[in-house]
Amino acid sequence: MQSAITIANAEADRILSRTWQIALAVGGLALVYFLVMLPRDITWVNVGQDGADYMIAAKYWRLAHSTGAPFYTVLAGVWLRAVPIGTDWWRLALLSALFSAGTAALLYAATRNMLAPVLFLASGIVVSQSTIIEVYAATTFFIVAGWYLHTNRHRNWGYAAVGLGMAIHNLAGFMFLALLVADWQRQRRIPWQHVLVAIATSAPWYLYLVLANRQPYINIPGNNPLDWAHYFASQHGLMGGIAVMGSQWTLSEDFRERCWDAVRIILSLGPGLVLLVLGARQQILKGRYLLPIVAGLVTLYWFTFLDPRSYTYMMVATALVAVIMAQAKVPDWLRVITALYCLALMGFNVVWYDIGGSHLDSQHSAEAFRSSLARLEGDEYVWSGPRQWEAMTLQLYNFDHGTNFNPILLGPTPRATLADLETAASRGKLYRTEVTDAPNYQVRIVAAFPMQVWEDMKSQDLRNYQRK
């Protein structure tokens, strides 16, 4: 009997070891796949408007926009200093690629099925966020790691991983709450030990925000408690903010656009959609609600978010849905067709998502914008409207080159009054950016008139908004 158990344990260890060897290979191949598409230097594409913001935070130990992503900032800061090759931008983009490669490896390890990582890697959303400076690749990794560890009975480690995710982005909170409810249902009591583990691995990172906040203040007006309250609450209006009704009897343009986005995201699963429907049904019928519910909640969160760019949240849902699809009990031929379909999409991605390649940012618009700043004296006012990625690029330029551009950021303390603008204009130092080619992010800097900028500022300042 004893020897039978020993043999069974040895066999289980062998399978586990082999699973991780394959998972490691999957992660390695995924990393190569992303490496092909990384940008050589600064870029704004793939909705990476926060890239300059995170670069300032990591490179100069500063505060990123709310809610700060402190764990990511510290990790990125260390990574930036530890990796000796490539530009700053390439290095941090590589960090995103590493996290997504890690997620692909975890997806294989969790399902022991190649379909899960292939589905994840084929997604346009995943590729777009794994090749730029953003937090979603890291957030997705910690969410999947948390679920995987928890499912494999390493519950404290699972909560620790999700806690690290919560020190990056609030999306990890969905998984935290889901694990909590699952444990509560099983034990019929609140698992306080696990809660404390999650808090202990997430909360201390937020001390970084207090330590990093200093003049010149970025993303926060000052350093008093009210400033902090404003900082953390500044984006809550975006949640659930989409207008469903345009007028009394019509759907709003935003809502119709969001439906179109959803159709594209869902349909791009192709034959995998059959796996998703069957897999989700099977999970629910078996009483396994966790993955469908978390994926559904994240989807709902995105769908009702005001900012259309929050499609990036769907990266988390994509990873969870890949597990559901890979675990679906379906005929093998359907898996093969789906896998081949995903491999074809990956081939498409390598060409079409290659940043700086022939189809995406071939003119290196952000680099061109940065070069154009060198032709100015360095103390001009530059108004870039709602395009905060341009304003943050100006801020980054100030930090990198010691210049004093005023990007006139909107917020609780506008960086310019009408008098400031008139004074700047009289000295020939008032400029604005003008979009010359929207799909390619091409902009140029042109001289501006004070009233023109002022009126534009007022129209963009959300505090001036009145109910329609």
Binding site: V45, I125, G241, A243, D261, I266, L278, Y341, P439, R467
Partner: protein, 110 residues
Amino acid sequence: MTRPNHHLRLPSRWVLILGALALIPAGITAHRLLWTMVTGGEELTRWNTVDFANKTGMFFIVVGGLGWLGSVYWERQHSTLGKAVVGVVTLAAVIIAGWVMSQQTPFNVG
């Protein structure tokens, strides 16, 4: 507790084959159209047209959530009186929550 496996019966083979095959061209087309969205091709034009109208999404989430919670408790009631009480309380909660939200500042990002 898990349910018996006959609940996991698959649709007919031909439905699966036709569905999967039909979704290949649809999926490739959607993936190409998704490219313009996820690379930011639509971003600059869209963000300027965002309608800061109201928090209808949040409105539906809260009201829908209250209604769902009410339906859970309604199902748990075994008497007509119990169901009626839960129904009235849920309706009142939905009306009050909807009214309160309709009074709030619609958008508060600054």
